[in-house]
Each structure stands twice: as C-alpha cells, then as structure tokens.
C-alpha cells in the first residue's frame, strides 16, 4: 500500500536525529504550552476563588503572588499563556490563508518567537515589579 518509505511510526529515540526546523519547534511548543495551561487552570481557579472570597482573601493572594514561589508560578503560567496565545493567533491567521506557504510558515514561526518573547518579557516585568 505504501508507495514510499516514510515511517508510519516514530520512535522517541529517533527524535534527536530529526531535523527540527523552526516551524516544528514552535508547533511542539504550542502543544506543550497547552498542556501546561491545562494544569495551570487549577492555579488560576484557586487564585480567582481566593481573590473574590473576601478582602482578606484578596490580600492573602496578593501576598502569595509576591513570594518567590508565587512569582515563579505566576510567571510560568503567564509565559505559557503568552506563547499559546501568540502561536494560536498564528493558527487563526493560517485559517485565513495568511503565511501558509513554506516561506510564510518559516517567517510566521520566527514572528511567533519574537512576539511571544516580548510578551514573556513583559510578563516577567509585571510579575516582579509588584
């Protein structure tokens, strides 16, 4: 049935041997960020619950988010959100047949890295400036 010799299954050990063009890296990162966010929703709901419960709860959450661990978690989730957001916008543009050529895809992958890096940097500033 198969006329060519492309593999149907990929062994994890082969991954390191593969070429990883930038669009492949941004694609798998989009997926990983999505899984991080899926777990991260629990932290988001926990924070929303506490912040809306009472004035004291709001202050408690503020203090938690100002602690080193709180800053790390907040930054991690904002970074994942930033990346998934930008990579998602790229997908929605692809739907509109924007940047869906080979060159366009490589350009869009670089743009994804650039714009998400800017947002992640701004997230770090927002998290640490208190």
């Amino acid at each position: 049935m198969n006329k060519d010799h492309r593999p149907i299954n990929v062994d994890p050990a082969d991954l390191a041997r593969f070429k990883w063009p930038i669009p492949a890296l941004t694609s798998i990162s989009h997926r990983i960020a999505g899984v991080v966010l899926f777990v991260g929703i629990a932290f988001g709901l926990y924070a929303l619950d506490m912040s809306l419960s009472s004035e004291a709860g709001f202050e408690r959450l503020s203090a938690m988010m100002a602690s080193p661990l709180g800053m790390l978690v907040t930054f991690g989730l904002l970074a994942a959100l930033s990346y998934h957001f930008v990579a998602g916008i790229k997908h929605l543009l692809l739907d509109l047949e924007i940047a869906d050529s080979l060159e366009g895809g490589q350009f869009a992958a670089k743009a994804t890295i650039l714009f998400s890096a800017i947002l992640i940097f701004l997230s770090a500033i927002w998290v640490t400036q208190g």
């Binding site: 299954n9 994890p12 997926r31 999505g34 899984v35 966010l37 899926f38 929703i41 629990a42 709901l45 929303l48 619950d49 912040s51 809306l52 419960s53 009472s54 004035e55 709001f58 202050e59 959100l81 957001f85 998602g88 916008i89 997908h91 929605l92 739907d95």
Partner: protein, 122 residues
C-alpha cells in the same frame, strides 16, 4: 482491529470549528481581562470584586470557562490519540488512553463546577 476513539463531537470538522470559535472567545477574554488589570493600575479588592459582580463579566467569564473546557478537551484528546498508541505503549494502549481520557474529563468537569461556584457561590 479498528477502535473508535470518540472525539469531542464525533466529527472532525465540528471539532475543528469548535477549536477555532473557542480560541476566538478565549483570546478576546484574555485581552479584556489583562487589559482591565493593566488599565486599573494598583488593583484592589473593591475594584476586582466590582468587576466580577457585573452581569456582563459573569456571562463573559462563564463563556470563557465553557470555551476552556471544550478547547482543552479537543487539545488533550488530540495529544492522547497522537501519543498513546500501541506502537509506544504496547497492547495496553487502548486501556491507558481510556484511563487518560476519563482523567481529562474528570479534571474538566471539576474545573467547570468549581468555576461556576466561584462566579455565583462566593
């Protein structure tokens, strides 16, 4: 043997559309919420509570929550069916994937119920 692993709507095109529509809703919600927090400057409890006391924000948040549930299910289902296969997991792959999918559904159900309680229970 062909095993039918059900998707969100048992229809790939519908899944695709749902993933897009929910993406637009979630992107809009993210921009509005982040924008509100940035424009407010020093956020405090009365302003924050006031925002979530408004009907439009409660509707928008519930819409975003429902979108998250559908969006996450389609994403997690795709990942599960991509990687949890016999080639990697042996003959128990179907059972492991079923367990994984049940786990995802449980987590999503908990998120939804918890979120509704936060919006109207506090």
């Amino acid at each position: 043997m062909v095993t039918q692993a059900t998707s969100f709507s048992r229809n790939g095109v519908a899944d695709w559309i749902v993933q897009r529509v929910t993406a637009y809703i979630l992107a809009a919600y993210t921009v509005v919420l982040v924008g509100y927090i940035l424009v407010s400057g020093d956020m405090n409890y009365p302003v924050w509570r006031g925002l979530f006391n408004q009907t439009w924000m409660q509707v928008f948040t519930l819409l975003a929550l429902l979108s998250t549930c559908a969006h996450a299910w389609i994403g997690m289902w795709t990942i599960g069916t991509d990687y949890i296969r016999e080639h990697y997991f042996g003959s128990g792959a179907d059972a492991i994937r079923l367990l994984y999918q049940v786990g995802c559904v449980l987590v999503i159900a908990i998120y939804l119920i918890w979120g509704v309680k936060i919006l109207w229970g506090n």
